[in-house]
Symmetry: C2
DNA sequence: CTCAAAATATGAGATATCTCATATTATTTG
DNA sequence: CAAATAATATGAGATATCTCATATTTTGAG
């Protein structure tokens, strides 16, 4: 992890107008952090000292269950918050956050700014919108995971993440994300190939029948 | 649905200090609504005109999927908001909300108060806390539903809802809530009886071995 | 009070998903 | 660069869960 200083820091403070996020000055103690792929931004179970706001990059929220299973709860992208739960609640089980690409974020020391943040309507309004989307997305994922088999959820995921017709996500991550075993994921991928929806290319898969995948994914329309 | 007027309305406005919820006067247009068990407070797909704040009672959030399956997303209890998604977002697929006991709530016409609400730090702070808990609960339910079989989730649910050692929830509601088929729910309940954890009493079940249920539910500790 | 609708109940067979075992191939790190 | 670690891959058998069929009982509306 690198903390930007001087020139480099001011560059980010200017480029991303913090005036849209907070209505009080935060320049004094705000930091700009850079994390590399696979760095842990927050370790599971360890309360963070900062409220983060992601400027660039992509990260993953993980939780480990008592049976050892690991769930990838969701991805975090630019313009999203990290550590807001700890800002709002004194008692909270902290999830692990891992950068999945190089990730740059604002880091506000909670210690200094907590009180002001909780009285700032501009900040609260943004956070409220962020949280409402988060709650709504989680609710959708929850009910969909119970209502539809992997076939449908995987088709949707493939369409979402494929790049120029090529699906190339790592299986392990996808298992954690879709909440199924490695074995089963490979099984359904193999079915998709058998049916001609996909064609394997090394360790990637090329989409051959968009319409079939769309048909499977369609059940999530809302 | 009944809208309280005069005396009855003022009673509720006094008893539940709205001054804790909003920092501007809402007396003029706020209403107090009473819904009976099974009344729909909001119909699925129909944008509501009000932001609700539940004072008494209990309600259920439902969504219907394209395959006809119905999910009971969660319960709503006193001191929670309903319709906040529609307040925050112009475009949103509205879930159905059904009272499961007599339910009394404040109803603020969004049309009149939207702008003020979104600038009121007190209101936003409360809503933020509510939404953060909601997001967090949904995330937990999501990952738990994928990581553990019904056995564990049902044990937890029974312990949560049993009243003086007697579990008496309707099966249909529980299926929608836990996201399993009616058949499977009955199957696992029968297993619990076979193992001596529960004993059937008419259509209720008496808890016979708390420790066994606790053991199953323990995996959700956090 | 009556009838229709909803909820409860149970069986049998199908399918989705998991566990475990084992090999091979990448990737990371000292 | 080598060894350790993580990711990919596949088979076989177990289990969790679903679908459908059907019967009985309870509940709600008129």
């Amino acid at each position: 992890m690198e903390i930007y200083k001087g020139e480099k820091k001011w560059l980010y403070l200017q480029k991303n107008s913090i005036a849209d996020l907070f209505s009080f000055p935060v320049e004094e103690f705000i930091e700009v952090h850079e994390y590399q792929r696979n760095d842990w931004i927050i370790q599971e179970g360890m309360r963070p000292d900062f409220l983060f706001y992601v400027l660039e990059g992509k990260a993953k929220i993980y939780i480990t269950h008592q049976n050892g299973k690991v769930s990838l709860i969701n991805f975090i992208n630019a313009n999203e918050y990290i550590g807001e739960m700890e800002l709002l609640h004194d008692v909270y089980y902290t999830k692990g956050i891992q950068a999945s690409t190089k990730t740059i974020c604002f880091a506000l020391p909670i210690h200094y700014y907590r009180k002001q943040l909780l009285e700032d309507a501009k900040f609260l309004r943004e956070l409220t919108k962020f949280l409402s989307v988060k709650a709504s997305v989680m609710a959708a994922k929850y009910t969909q995971s119970l209502a539809f088999p992997l076939e449908n959820r995987l088709a949707y995921f493939i369409l979402q993440t494929a790049d120029e017709g090529i699906y190339k996500e790592g299986h392990v991550t996808v298992c954690d994300y879709l909440g199924v075993s490695y074995r089963h994921l490979l099984h359904v991928l193999a079915q998709f190939c058998d049916k001609g929806y996909l064609q394997k290319q090394g360790r990637n898969y090329q989409i051959k029948q968009y319409h079939s995948l769309h048909e499977l994914a369609e059940v999530f329309k809302n």
